[in-house]
Structure formats: structure tokens, C-alpha cells
């Protein structure tokens, strides 16, 4: 069959010393930037890009792709250890992952994140191999109307992430949406709430927000307490997930992988959406949903698998249509063009060794990452043992550098500090951070899609129902909104019944 020939071609292309080396460099750099909060894969790729000019395009792409999914792996490490997400997609991992670390279970959390990511990555590469062209068509069916409905559904899903009061979570979400409106409005060109600060033109960046809300605020909240005497001790044998952990995580990983892969095909903030959708699904399917947020391993396994699978899915529009799904892939696209490779539907047939070589390198890369990350778990756990009085300044330093190195802007660092104050107070007042950040990320896209849809339909709101995919999302959104009320109604009726019965007796 053709497929086996292609696989052989890919393996042949991959297993040269240069390519294996480049794969390795890519994943190591990727993990490094993923672990360092703020520094994103784009920075690493831009850094290594000149070094790729003197080698073949295949080697270049292999390395750059490695950076991309390596960064996804790395991002979860800081989420679990110090409650600082490496990027927006890792925000969800903080919810239960950090709690697990606080309970001395950082090892299993990191381990299941690594294994889950590996399995998800492998599944998504399989998907990339087998169903790339048809899936690309699926991605094209998503226009502004579909995006709006998807994002709207996403915002509503945020309610399900709430461990505490839903009303408060929703309020944080709306606040996040409002913050997302700051900046230059793309459609009309008007400045909103930028107060003449040029840096705000592109809106409130989510990296300063994340660093502030999760990093700075967490540190300050800890600093409030007296010297922590509860040093987290972990015995060596607890570094890996145990059998129960595996049993609990199996289905979340599978579900997360498929969910993430399909969502990943859609251009846009796919890893973010897939990670919190996975969390919401796991919470809904769980027999103990109220325990989510206290250290449930499913809350790490699902989302971590989902966001890794999404990275595999993101390559599909690149290879099949020449369309970048996000800014990182856009750099890869640029790399193609610099090396004289014409992107587009003909890419796979014109450059089979490029495509299959990259695909095979993803398998290898995922395996390398797993092998790299597992022993590192022991190392990371040691980091936790550093006495907090010394650890916390370092954490703050990472936050500062992370934000500053983005755009060399003092404004953004100031924003981070501002978010830090807000996050600190929010914690004290029992408001959750995750809905705000996630709304901040998907809010602008949702608003743009809404307005664009209405421009295209010349003002008719029926466009959202006329498009079948969009209508499906709207339907699910309505169901999600109504369903929390159903048990409430049920409870009221039950109470009423009990009251009546009580009076009768």
C-alpha cells in the first residue's frame, strides 16, 4: 500500500544524523522555552531560524516542529509545580495539577502529563498521517459564524470549570471579556480604552495577565503566610503515577486526544479551547465532579492530552492548504517560503519527503520528549524542595523576565504587577482566575467573529442558525446554559414536596 511506502520514505528521511540531531535540539529548546514562563515557542523559533538556512528544508522543519510541541510539554511543568501556566493552554493544568503538587503528588501529576501528552501526540500524528486532506476540508467549513458560536459555547463552558460559586466565575469571565475589548478594534479601527498608550493597542496581553494573576498573585498569597514549615516531601517511589492513577487517567487521555486533535484542526486558539473543553467534559463525566479542583488526576490527564493533540492537528492546515493555524505555525510557513518551498495543497505531493519526514520526526520527537521529561521529574521535584524564602524571589524573577522579554515593554511589566494585585485580592475574595484568563483569550476572537458574521450577512442575525455547524454549537450552548438550572428546579420541587409532606404529617 502507498502508505507503507510513504512511511518508509519518512523513516529514511528522518534517520540521518543531521535530522535526528535537529529533532533533538528542537524538542530540548522547546521544552526549555515551555518551562520558562513567558518565553514562547515563537521566540525560540525566531532564535534558531538563521541556523536553519544552511541545512536542508526538511531538517529545518523537523527542528522547528520539535520546538513547537516541545513547548507544549514544557508548559505544563510550571503549571503543576508553581501554579504558573507556561502558556494559555496550560492554565487548566494549574487547577488540579498544582493541588496535586501541594498534596505531595507532583511526580504523578508530571508523569501523567508527560505520558498523556505522549499518547495524545502519537494519536494526533496518526491522525495527521491518515486523515489530513479530508480534515482540512472540515476546517474550511468554519467561517466567522461558526467561530462565533464555538467561542460562545466556550465561554459558557467556562462556568463548568468553577470549583466554587458559578456566579462569581461567570463574573470573572465577563470581566475577562471586557478586558479583551481594550485595544484597537480591528473592524472599525477605533481605539478602545488605550489612554494613548501604544502598547495597549493590541490589547491586554494574556502573558502579562497570566504571569500576574497566577504567578505574582500566588507568590504574594504565599508570602503572606509565615515561613512555610510544610516542606513537601516526596519519596522516590512516588515519582510516577501508580496503577490507580493510570486507571483513572486512561479514558480522559483517550477522550482528550481525540477532542484536541479535531479542535486543533481549526485555526485559532485551539490548544486553549481543547484544554478547557476537555476539563469540562471530564468533570461532567466524572462520578465525583465536586472533587475537581482539589487534585483530581483526570483534571490533568484530559487537558494535557487535549492540548498536545491540538498541536498535531494544527499542522494539518499548514501542510494541506498552506494556511497557518496560529502565529507559531506562521513562522514555520515563513520558513517554508524562505527555503523556497511553495506552500499549498500540492505540498504533500510535491515534497513527500518533507511531509513524511516531518511526520515521522513527530513520533520520534514525542518519544524523545517522554524520555527527556521523565527523569527530569525527579529534578523538578527537587526544585520544590528549595526553601520558599529563596524560591519565591526566583519565581518572581522568571515572571519579570518572561513578561519583559516579550516586547521589551515596561508597560507590560506594569500590567503584570497590576494583575498581580488584582489576582491577590481576587484570591482573598474567593474569585477564580481561570475564567478571566480564558475569556481574555477567546473574547476578542468571539467579538470579531460576531461582527464579521453580521457584516457578511448584512445585518441578519439568522446567519448563526442558517449555518448547520454554527446552529449545532448554539444548540449545545443553550443546553449547557439551561442544564444547571434543571437540578435547581428539581431541588425546589423536591423541597416543596418535602414541605407539603411534612405538613401533612
Amino acid at each position: 500500500m502507498d502508505l507503507t511506502n510513504y512511511i518508509l520514505l519518512g523513516v529514511q528521511t528522518l534517520f540521518t544524523p543531521t535530522n535526528i540531531l535537529f529533532c533533538f535540539i528542537g524538542v530540548v529548546m522547546g521544552t526549555l522555552v515551555g518551562v520558562l514562563p513567558g518565553l514562547g515557542p515563537t521566540a525560540a523559533i525566531a532564535l534558531l531560524l538563521p541556523n536553519t538556512f544552511h541545512v536542508s528544508p526538511v531538517s529545518a522543519i523537523i527542528m522547528l516542529a520539535g520546538i513547537y510541541y516541545g513547548a507544549m510539554y514544557g508548559g505544563s511543568t510550571t503549571s503543576i509545580l508553581v501554579n504558573i501556566p507556561g502558556e494559555a493552554a496550560s492554565v487548566i493544568t494549574c487547577l488540579d495539577g498544582y493541588k496535586m503538587a501541594q498534596q505531595g503528588r507532583a511526580g504523578p501529576a508530571l508523569g501523567i502529563a508527560a505520558f498523556g501528552s505522549f499518547i495524545a501526540g502519537t494519536i494526533s500524528v496518526l491522525g495527521l498521517m491518515l486523515v489530513a486532506p479530508p480534515l482540512a476540508k472540515f476546517a474550511l467549513a468554519f467561517g466567522p459564524a461558526e467561530y462565533f458560536s464555538l467561542m460562545l459555547m466556550g465561554i459558557v463552558i467556562l462556568i463548568y470549570l468553577a470549583a466554587g460559586s458559578m456566579l462569581k466565575a461567570l463574573m470573572m469571565g465577563i470581566f475577562g471579556l471586557l478586558l479583551g475589548t481594550i485595544g484597537m478594534d480591528a473592524i472599525s479601527g477605533t481605539q478602545r480604552l488605550t489612554f494613548g498608550i501604544l502598547e495597549l493597542c493590541d490589547g491586554v496581553g494574556f502573558i502579562p495577565a497570566i504571569m500576574g494573576l497566577f504567578g505574582v498573585a500566588e507568590v504574594i498569597a504565599n508570602v503572606e503566610q509565615a515561613i512555610r514549615t510544610d516542606v513537601i516531601t516526596t519519596k522516590v517511589k512516588n515519582l510516577l503515577p501508580n496503577l490507580k492513577d493510570w486507571k483513572d487517567s486512561f479514558w480522559p487521555i483517550i477522550r482528550g486526544s481525540f477532542l484536541g486533535f479535531f479542535i486543533g484542526v481549526l485555526p485559532g486558539p485551539a490548544p486553549v479551547i481543547s484544554s478547557f473543553s476537555s476539563y469540562a467534559i471530564e468533570k461532567k463525566l466524572s462520578k465525583t465532579p465536586e472533587k475537581f479542583g482539589t487534585g483530581m488526576i483526570q483534571g490533568v490527564a484530559g487537558p494535557e492530552s487535549a492540548n498536545n493533540a491540538a498541536t498535531g492537528g494544527a499542522f494539518i492546515p499548514l501542510f494541506t492548504l498552506g494556511i497557518p493555524a496560529n502565529s507559531v505555525i506562521a513562522v514555520l510557513l515563513g520558513a517554508f517560503m524562505i527555503h523556497g518551498i511553495q506552500p499549498g495543497p500540492m505540498l504533500i505531493s510535491k515534497y513527500p519527503q518533507l511531509f513524511w519526514g516531518t511526520v515521522m520526526s513527530m513520533y520520534l520527537g514525542n518519544a524523545m520528549l517522554l524520555i527527556l521529561n521523565l527523569p527530569l521529574i525527579g529534578l523538578w521535584v527537587q526544585v520544590l524542595k528549595v526553601p520558599y524564602p529563596i524560591l519565591f524571589p526566583l519565581i518572581l524573577l522568571f515572571c519579570l523576565v518572561g513578561v519583559f522579554s516579550l516586547n521589551f515593554s515596561q508597560v507590560e511589566v506594569a500590567l503584570m504587577i497590576g494583575f498581580g494585585v488584582f489576582g491577590y485580592l481576587a484570591r482573598k475574595f474567593q474569585f477564580e482566575m481561570a475564567p478571566l484568563v480564558l475569556a481574555l483569550v477567546i473574547g476578542p476572537m468571539m467579538e470579531n467573529s460576531l461582527r464579521l458574521s453580521l457584516i457578511i450577512s448584512q445585518g441578519s442575525p439568522w446567519i448563526f442558525i442558517q449555518h448547520p455547524i454554527s446552529a449545532a454549537f448554539i444548540f449545545i450552548t443553550l443546553v449547557l446554559l439551561i442544564s444547571p438550572l434543571v437540578p435547581w428546579i428539581g431541588r425546589r420541587r423536591k423541597k416543596l414536596r418535602e414541605k407539603v409532606e411534612g405538613e401533612q404529617i
Partner: protein, 312 residues
């Protein structure tokens, strides 16, 4: 003539520039068109100038962030920036709080441009510009035409087209080229004025009706130009390198020489063409002429459409 030339070369050798690395400020994200051009030039420039070229990225506000910084940068020739026309003309006019003016800079060179072309989705009823105009006349305000950004090259191309043909299109603002691409491939919009790079990449999945280059593009040899159809319509986004105005003349000349030597190389041109660009070789004087002509054209369009209303 020879005397002038010899003075020029004498200056170049006596000049103590460059002594160290030169910073190239990219106003957009890595992988974008400016980056591609920069990376393609990098090896030749480094050889020509004898120093490393360090590419820094300062994306934000559609380029305004970088250009505001550039206008305040030290004018010693060690900082150069990429630019796009018409962005540097339009932004100071339309964006409040922008800290640069178009004449804060001297353009050293224009390296390439991407002509903007008109494409329609695969199953659109029109197969030629003529049919498109007829259809649009019959359905005023109903034909959706996508582009990136307001007050941008795409937006003005649409406006100019509407003025030339008298039709009324519905301009839909997207936030990125790839989004326009996805939308038109998926049939969510009817038409788009978009960069030649997109037209080349997706040419089999959309119908490219015409392109705004003066002659037919080699990558799109079966697509007519607007000129052939009788329209004096050359929409495009031109890109190149500029420096703060106060950079001394000799340094400007040295930079100009380095860039011109680079971009006149055949291999460079071929690389750009493959990617869908139309390479140019314009030095300081020619670039200034181009800038002035574009400014005049844009000002006229702004007047015609009364675009400079105070935004509420």
C-alpha cells in the same frame, strides 16, 4: 558622471561604517512577508557589510509600535527597520496616539511588492472581472469582499476599485491574511482583495480574476492584470527598509549600496518570485518618488470617500 561616481566610491571606502552589528527591526511577526524578505537578504547583507545582521521583532499596532520606536532611534545607521507602504502613509493619518510621521524616515530601498489581486470563491457566478462588475452592480452592497484591516492596503484597494467601477461592495475586515484565505476557501465570503502570495498558494481552489501588477506575474501567467482590462489600477503593498531621517548621507549611501547589491542578485530575485513576490530594485531616490506618488493617490481616495471624519 565618472567624477561623481568616484567620489561616491571614495566615500564608501573611507567610511568607518559599519563597525559592529546592525539591527534590523521587524514591525511584524516572524514568518511574515517582511521577515521572509529580511531572511532572504540576510546572508548577502552580512557578507557585503562585513558585520552580522541582527533581526529583532517589534510587532504591535499593525507596525505602528515599531515605527514609533524607529523614529526615536539613534540615527547612526546601526538601526534599520522594515516597512510597508501604504501602512506608513496611512497610519499617522488615521491612528490617534501614533508617535511617528511618514517623513520621520528616509527609505533606503524598496525590495519587493506583493500586488493585490481580486479573487472570488470557487463557486462564484462570475468568471471574469467584467462579470464580477455586472454581478456587483445588480446586487449593490451584497457582495462580500474580505481584506485585512481598516485603513490598510486591502481596504484602499477595495475603495479604489469601487470608485473606478462604480459598484458598491461590502468590505469585511479580517484580522489576518490567513483568515481571509480560510474564509474565501471555505466560501464564507464571496470575494477578496488579497496579496499575491495568497493567490499563488491557493490558485487552484479559488478563481483569481485579476491582479494589480503592471505586467502579468510569472507565477500567475494565466491571470490578466487590471491594466490589460483597461483599468489604471495597481494596488499593492510595497516593502523595504528605512532609517530615521537624521542618519548621515554617507551612511545612507553605504546602506543603499549594500541593499541594492543584494537585491539585484539573480538568486535573490528568484527566491522572492518563487514565494509570490515581485522583486524590485529601488534605491533612495526612486523609493522617495514611489512614496510621493502613493501618498498623492491615497490622499485623493481619502478625499473622495471623505474618510478622515473624526472618529467618535
Amino acid at each position: 558622471m565618472l567624477a561623481i561616481l568616484s567620489i561616491f566610491t571614495m566615500d564608501a571606502t573611507a567610511l568607518d561604517f559599519p563597525k559592529g552589528p546592525i539591527n534590523y527591526w521587524n514591525p511584524f511577526n516572524p514568518g511574515g512577508e517582511v521577515d521572509i524578505a529580511a531572511r532572504a537578504m540576510q546572508p548577502y547583507l552580512e557578507k557585503n557589510l562585513g558585520v552580522p545582521l541582527v533581526v529583532n521583532y517589534f510587532p504591535g499596532a499593525g507596525g505602528a509600535l515599531c515605527w514609533s520606536k524607529l523614529s526615536a532611534a539613534k540615527p547612526d545607521g546601526y538601526t534599520v527597520g522594515g516597512f510597508s507602504i501604504p501602512h506608513i502613509i496611512l497610519q499617522p493619518m488615521f491612528m490617534k496616539d501614533v508617535a511617528f510621521k511618514t517623513d520621520d524616515f528616509v527609505i533606503i530601498t524598496i525590495v519587493e511588492y506583493t500586488p493585490i489581486g481580486l479573487a472570488v470563491k470557487k463557486d462564484f457566478k462570475a468568471n471574469s472581472v467584467k462579470e464580477f462588475i455586472e454581478y456587483a452592480r445588480a446586487n449593490p452592497g451584497k457582495v462580500n469582499c474580505g481584506g485585512v484591516g481598516k485603513f490598510s492596503g486591502h481596504h484602499f484597494a477595495t475603495l479604489q476599485f469601487m470608485k473606478l467601477t462604480g459598484v458598491n461592495l461590502n468590505y469585511a475586515t479580517f484580522t489576518g491574511t490567513s483568515q481571509v484565505q480560510t474564509a474565501i476557501l471555505g466560501g464564507h465570503i464571496d470575494a477578496a482583495f488579497t496579496n499575491s502570495t495568497v493567490l499563488v498558494t491557493s490558485r487552484d481552489q479559488i478563481k483569481v480574476l485579476a491582479v494589480g501588477s503592471p505586467e502579468r506575474m510569472s507565477q500567475l501567467s494565466d491571470v490578466s492584470t487590471f491594466k490589460e482590462l483597461g483599468m489604471e489600477f495597481y494596488p499593492r503593498i510595497a516593502r523595504g527598509v528605512m532609517v530615521p531621517k537624521a542618519v548621515p548621507q554617507e551612511i545612507q549611501a553605504r546602506l543603499e549600496k549594500a541593499f541594492l547589491d543584494t537585491i539585484s542578485k539573480a538568486e535573490f530575485k528568484v527566491k522572492m518570485e518563487q514565494a509570490g513576490f515581485v522583486p524590485q530594485v529601488m534605491g533612495i531616490a526612486e523609493s522617495q518618488k514611489y512614496l510621493d506618488a502613493e501618498t498623492k493617490l491615497l490622499n485623493k481616495l481619502i478625499q473622495d470617500y471623505n474618510l478622515l471624519q473624526p472618529t467618535k
